[in-house]
Chain length 388, copies 2
Amino acid sequence: MAFSERVIRLKSSLIREILAAAQRPEVMSFAGGLPSEAMLPTLDWEGLPPALGQYGMSEGEPALREVLAAEARALGVDCQASQVLVVSGSQQTLDLVAKLHIDKGTEILLEGPTYLAALQIFQLFGADCLSIPLEQDGPDLAQLRARLENHQPAFVYLIPTFQNPSAVRYSEAKREAVAALLDEFGVTLIEDEPYRELTYDGGSARPIVSRLRNSSWVYTGTLSKTLAPGLRVGYLIASPDLFPHLLKLKQSADLHTNRIGQWQALQWIGTEKYRQHLVQLRDFYRARRDAFQQALERHFGDLADWQVPQGGLFFWLTLKQPLDTRTLLAEALSRDVAFMPGEPFFAEPECNPGNLRLNFSHIAPERLDEGLQRLAAVIRHAQVAQAA
Amino acid sequence: MAFSERVIRLKSSLIREILAAAQRPEVMSFAGGLPSEAMLPTLDWEGLPPALGQYGMSEGEPALREVLAAEARALGVDCQASQVLVVSGSQQTLDLVAKLHIDKGTEILLEGPTYLAALQIFQLFGADCLSIPLEQDGPDLAQLRARLENHQPAFVYLIPTFQNPSAVRYSEAKREAVAALLDEFGVTLIEDEPYRELTYDGGSARPIVSRLRNSSWVYTGTLSKTLAPGLRVGYLIASPDLFPHLLKLKQSADLHTNRIGQWQALQWIGTEKYRQHLVQLRDFYRARRDAFQQALERHFGDLADWQVPQGGLFFWLTLKQPLDTRTLLAEALSRDVAFMPGEPFFAEPECNPGNLRLNFSHIAPERLDEGLQRLAAVIRHAQVAQAA
């Protein structure tokens, strides 16, 4: 049997295995990144045109592309509908970007930590992943400059707004500085923004792509965090030099995105109904975050440091006594509690021990305290064993 | 700007450009492979569970996997639901198979002619595509054996039932012989069957994968030709050694297939309603095929040879005086008629001039005669010019 070299790089997905184990109803899971079922809006299918049963355009539905472009322009991204490509969830954008840019050994630049599934697919295509450490307000600029001076990455992949896993939101100053650096070195930016709308404490900042003067760029978003992930509708907006290639890659990947999900998306985006839904969603998640913060203070105050996330779906904890958190997983699952170890979010996991990603949106509030208490006990137990 | 080597292989898609030109309402198009809009069934969305808005399993919806496995077993394919992977249209199966097997320079074996979009994506990943000539009842067995003796292809890709473009259906004898040869040489089979249900003159034959004793295999099907392509729901069934790899590749490509389309598919497959729909569909396309055959006899009797297709959506014409049919396209479009040149369906287009693929399912019957008359005139004109 002849497999590609690529498949040898296809690691067993830790997320997959954890999520599988966390399916057991008795497990209190902080592991996933699922929206709360309680906040999935009721979808009305009346009026769906029968003609949407036919094949559609690889670009996406024209009316949807128009409203997505209008929304992006409202954020400051200078673009036209002709630059919008509707994709089968924003995971597909990562697949298309990898196909466009990555050969075996291609250098790319990522945040450390970064989105696990992005790291996995870029490595699947053979990328050599270089990291820039994240600080509270964005990347370490000196290290970013050094990387750009010493390497020629095919692209930089950034998640500047409520990053998964760290919840970091770049400051205005760092957004400007990053854009200037990318322009100076002529490096393509892939800016991933699934969490922009999940903002709980006000404040906003224009996307970095809107600040670029000459670098190529892809801006990517999704409806999965705000409307319904089961629809599998995301989108990318690309600079005109990249768009035609991404379109052909989309066509060869799956011809086009499902049209019923696109139609449903069009019923929401840009409407008053959607704005109201987002307000409710933010209120709901803000309350969950605040309750989580209180429970964390009770159980983790002596164990870890963290920032209160101003958006997104995750707390990112840094243990005061670092250890490889992957070694905690079996014990945690045996006590019916699940979490995401932090190491796999780094291109060099071995060099970055001691973080945990905890999802606050999905666990039922009445199980929260018990779940965090158990998880803290697992960590305490491991630290005692390590010290012994 | 740094592109992958892959993208340099990303040819401008002839199909794409033709379909774009054929969108003009005045164009009589024989080019596409679209189902007839008149035969798209009315989709009822009542009862869609709101919980399907949530993320789903990469494997697909469990109930849908069960009915797809049952349908495949009824065709003779010995399989379980655990071997079924729901994909975003069967084009995605080609993407996953390419990722699983193809590195730059990997040899694979295809029919000549073969499905254009398969050829394109395999070449995108860098495959070295070897061909086996097709005869009326399947591949040339001597050449298949010779290819297997002299090469070690990563897989053989076959479309044994009403192939696009040639409409060939393999005989029972050739199915047996192909299976025996693949077992003898231990070569993986990718069997693509989008057209199995579009059968107009009776007769059936078990899939080749059901005849294999030890080779690995992937069997791939879709709802796009019988239900509604806009749903983007297809499936693959794989031998247990391949399945886990394909599942991980699916997850990294787009997490999972949209759940609303999967739910709709589940309302149809295996039901009496679906069986009745298929009967109506076959009656409708049979009538269109018969009318097409009569019009072809009127206008192409002296120009080309062809077999009446017993299934699928296409006539495959072979010109009595071969010429590169790609050179006819501009003239045809200027006369408001579109068709698919045959050359791009071959791994070596230059060596295979003189075929046309004509879709019979989509053109309005009242425009059929005029369209074929114009197309015949374009060919006659080119042949006169060539002879001069």
